[in-house]
Symmetry: D2
Subunit: 378 residues, 4 copies
């Protein structure tokens, strides 16, 4: 076997951090990474406790990033962490990424990459200088049908683009935005922590990224109208952005955190001279392809009509939602509880009883049909 | 830390086996299992090669199940494989599970549990006698909204059940069923390998299981009409089953592999005196709750209105489909290719360039709005 | 102009009868019928009052059907009622239709045609003998996409049919079925009025009709399981029917009136060797066409890719739901209230004020854009 | 009977004009109007031929509007046309409406009301002076669920509004916009006929009207970005409009005729402090009601939970789409062909044969079930 697994370290993402779980599961999925250590928490003891839970080698859990860089660099190349995942609060991304790149580590970084453009540009120069890989986890670009959309546009399926429209509507900030005291508890509304933007920086940028990713076009000019809702709220919670892309193509990005009770309503529509393509995150397995004088087509992952890129981005047989892995994961979780003798909800996993009933069902079904479609007791 | 990870072995699931990947990813997901070895392939060398790829300890990759049982049993308890996953062809499930249970291993087994009811019943007795955990991976019962449906019915939300209807329609057998030579290439149509049923044994039993799982009712009598389509085809590829459940409640299970071009169209509808609940696998994040004189409600995972059981079965924030993990996994996959210096498709992961553009977008958006909604060059 | 409008009479359908409205509107729609009179109510005065409301000639409102037949027959042929619509209770259909056919009137009859097969067969013989047109209003066969489905199957688009599944699920009987006193108030549960069946006679037969209509196949044998839910309830409220159609093709009809809180959930799926077609009444403008190895196609009315038959069955431009007529009808209704000086809800129709605002919008939009995308007061 | 039908005249809408059919059917639907005459075509003979087809009194078909006004005014009040429908080309709306209002006729006018704001304002003054009813057919405001949305917002169900978004995307102009010669054939792209705007004037104004209609808010300022796509095309075919409504509430109107292959994709989303409401024209029977921490609700017409206004705007029983009338209308159309002895497609209407088969189905279904669920020949 040629390829060894890639040695991975993590900065942040300890106890209970959802984002840490997402990254570790994603790393596990392809069976290509081996998480070997990191700095999981600012509190060293917490970090070590968490690493023990993951059964990591305690000698590779470090006080802080400086120590990590120093110690890992001293290890033989074959054994050294190759790539570090940064899942710390946004304002730490820049300094940590800079340190790692300068020490020649590859970096996987949560978005936003930094809190200012100047910082991001500095990182870009360093990445080029040090020749490392820098992966920014704009997760939505990983969906098979987003990749299929990109490929179809690249291949000219919808012709020259004449209109693009991207939306990211959430409602989560509504319960806190209307009272100043509540607002004060939300770090995303604090310029010191979130930078110059809340809504656009957090989700507008996703819509922007998806739009450029799928179309291959670049934004050249923009005119925006962002909304803080209250004069004493410093950061935007809603906004619309008019765009000019290559060749003066018109586009629009709409984002909101006051679209009350919306969860993560991302929608993307791209129209070209020969057709249109639409995608929505709520049903990420469907890509809608519109063509004049023809019925709308609904493309789904895993089918041979997709591009190689889209097919390679699918782990699952056609017709199963990607969530199937998660369903299976839940059964493993329940089984683990049983193995450990912990209490668990009945129904947490199917047992041999279910197996017996299933076999009984199959045999009785065959028997009834063979007997001329008559009733059979179970 | 109280809990050590559970030591897991795998039988089958080597090179390229989709089902092996599903089980390993599911085991990774909860960060509660540690895959330590197994028998991945009937061919020992293949098995060892595959284990090397996963960077497993070669001393725990065994020639066959007998050797595995012997050697693992000799290890100290704390180090021993605790649970074995069986993902071999169906006809091997019984003998392997039997061997493992008798040696006091816990077992996670792919469905169908065996090829006959008698075998399944034998396993059930052994499971009880040896007190081991036996987990049968009826995956669909792991979906959060299937679990929510079960809980709501248990809690009496829809009242006494008066009608149930479960469907599993696929079309995959259509391209091979019409010619005898093609049929001969399909192991599921060979009674020696598949047992007495193809369609009912493979997918009808899923619909049956979902129906009993969610309702808590048990099938008491049935009348079936299965269809082999051709007289010289020994096994069913389609069928309908009329059911009598507890209290003479009527139900129906419909399954087909000749529902041309259907992928995995599973639908479940349960109607009680006080309301109805419906679920479809194609959009597994939606649970439809019907109530007289009220608008239909659409429940989604991760929201506080769900039962504890459903909430514990969700890894993701509300509004994201479970497939988000997979999207992130694709970005890790592309990043791995880049780190290894392999070729990869542009767009396989976002880079620092995307980060710079994103920060540029955010800063320009804020600038345009601050300047009174005027155009800003990018 | 060659064609005079067809002179239409109506039996039943007076004051407040929903079914009368449906038939009159349907007759108006094509501008080919002229309602001239009838027997709208068993009570003669009521009948006359209702006719006055419709501004019909009072001399053509009759005491009963015998008088109508006698008087209309005496009129000159060019002036005589040509076709009578029967929208009376089911048990009257047979005797009334018989009388009309024997007097050589054409008949449009609500379903069910009669309450027994013998009566229906008798009518069939009379229709043939007298050479009149007998139109039975199985309304669902009038949907453009149901007609498109029929044509596509006729043309062999999905090849030889191998599986059909038709469903009609309602929940309306749930609120009355569980108490004997309530049941007694429902004429459909009274064998004297409804005949031998409630659920199958009312809605199962629609599913059956749609299935035969679209596929062109005929049911040859059936096995049914119908359910009265209570032993002292004489008529079925739920049932499943296994079918054998031509060439031993398998089918299933499922119908229920205890599918709690379902409204009119009609679904039809037909699978052939070359593809599948699916239609649902809730979204009657979509026809789903499944084909192996191709994206699902969604056909919609009014587009040139449809058959002539489907196109001729569409009154509306592509992309508008047929309900557009009804929306416009509501505006006419509000306008009528205003013209008559009756009170009406604000918003019942748009006024000149809306016209002024609209023109203002258009002019301001153009102005803002011309001024370089700046804010313009409204 | 108190109410006589309202006497209606029509200007335009003759031979083959779709818009004429829509208005006549809408007028028929409520059984409150009686079409008595008009000026159906600029060519008098054509107009008379068309009126004969509708079997109207020839003495009330006039050479032109002046004659109509003169002659109708001379009739006794009880017999006179009360309201005139204007369905002529846009540029004639103003002069015709002016003439009619000044002669004290009520007016129903197709949109756009005029081609300039000044003309519209003039009409508004005249309407007030003469005290006539002026109904502008912004048809979308007639949908039951649009009216339900309006009522819910009025009643404060979603609280103070904080974000509105309205879209109207079509693609019909794509096939002609890219070549100058083709463009020249489209009257909507000719400023002399269409006024100062194509896309905004035709469909943007619908989105604007729906937004004001449902929310009760008024646009106070706007900033627009409209697009002609080609420099030598004088009128817009696409555009986005940023809005400030009452209390500085932000809104957006998006409209396009180059959203390739879109038909009439109208979407409206309104978010308030207490919830959100969404509606789409493609499925006009669904109103989506979002509320924090609760499942999304889907409201449908005809159910008792709707407002009186919405209920009065529904002609059909719950669960049937409004298109049911049209389906029935198709059956009447086929029946008319048969009555006239014209050729018609088999399947154009169900016959007595279908009635016999239906009764046979019902009787056999009951028999099979009574015989213990055994097969019965048909």
């Amino acid at each position: 076997m040629k390829n060894k697994k890639i040695k991975l370290g993590m900065i942040g993402g300890g106890h209970g951090a959802f984002i840490g779980i997402v990254h570790r599961v994603a790393a596990y999925m392809g069976e290509e990474y081996d998480l070997v250590g990191g700095v999981f928490d600012a509190d060293y003891q917490q970090s070590k406790d968490f690493a023990e839970q993951l059964e990591l080698d305690p000698s590779r859990v470090y006080e802080n990033l400086d120590v990590l860089v120093e110690k890992e660099t001293q290890r033989p190349a074959a054994d050294r962490m190759q790539v570090l995942v940064i899942v710390t609060p946004n304002f730490l991304h820049h300094s940590m990424a800079k340190k790692l790149i300068m020490a020649n580590f590859h970096v996987i970084c949560e978005k936003p990459v930094t809190t200012t453009l100047a910082e991001a540009s500095e990182l870009e120069e360093l990445v080029q200088k040090h020749g490392v890989v820098f992966s920014l986890t704009h997760t939505y670009t990983g969906y098979p049908m987003v990749r299929q959309m990109r490929t179809m546009i690249q291949e000219g399926v919808i012709g020259e683009i004449q209109k693009v429209d991207a939306q990211y509507y959430q409602g989560w900030i509504n319960p806190v935005i209307h009272e100043k005291e509540k607002r004060a508890t939300v770090w995303r509304l604090d310029p010191a922590k979130a930078g110059i933007s809340c809504c656009m920086g957090d989700i507008g940028v996703h819509a922007f990224n998806l739009l450029e990713y799928t179309t291959g076009l670049e934004v050249k000019r923009l005119l925006s109208d962002i909304n803080t809702l209250y004069a004493d709220n410093p950061l935007d919670v809603d906004g619309s952005v008019l765009l000019r892309l290559n060749n003066d193509t018109r586009g629009i990005v709409r984002a909101s955190q006051i679209a009350t009770a919306e969860e993560n309503n991302i929608q993307l529509a791209v129209y070209g001279r020969k057709g249109g393509l639409k995608w929505e995150q709520e049903n990420p397995n469907y890509l809608y392809y519109l063509k004049e004088n023809e019925p709308m087509r609904v493309l789904k992952p895993g089918n041979a009509y997709n591009s190689d890129f889209a097919l390679q981005s699918t782990k699952i047989a056609p017709g199963h939602p990607e969530g199937l892995f998660d369903a299976m994961g839940n059964i493993y979780k329940g089984t683990a509880q049983a193995i450990r003798g912990e209490s668990y909800v009945a129904g947490a996993f199917p047992t041999i009883r279910d197996g017996v009933r299933g076999m009984n069902f199959i045999e009785k079904v065959v028997a009834s049909s063979r007997q001329g479609n008559t009733w059979v007791d179970f």
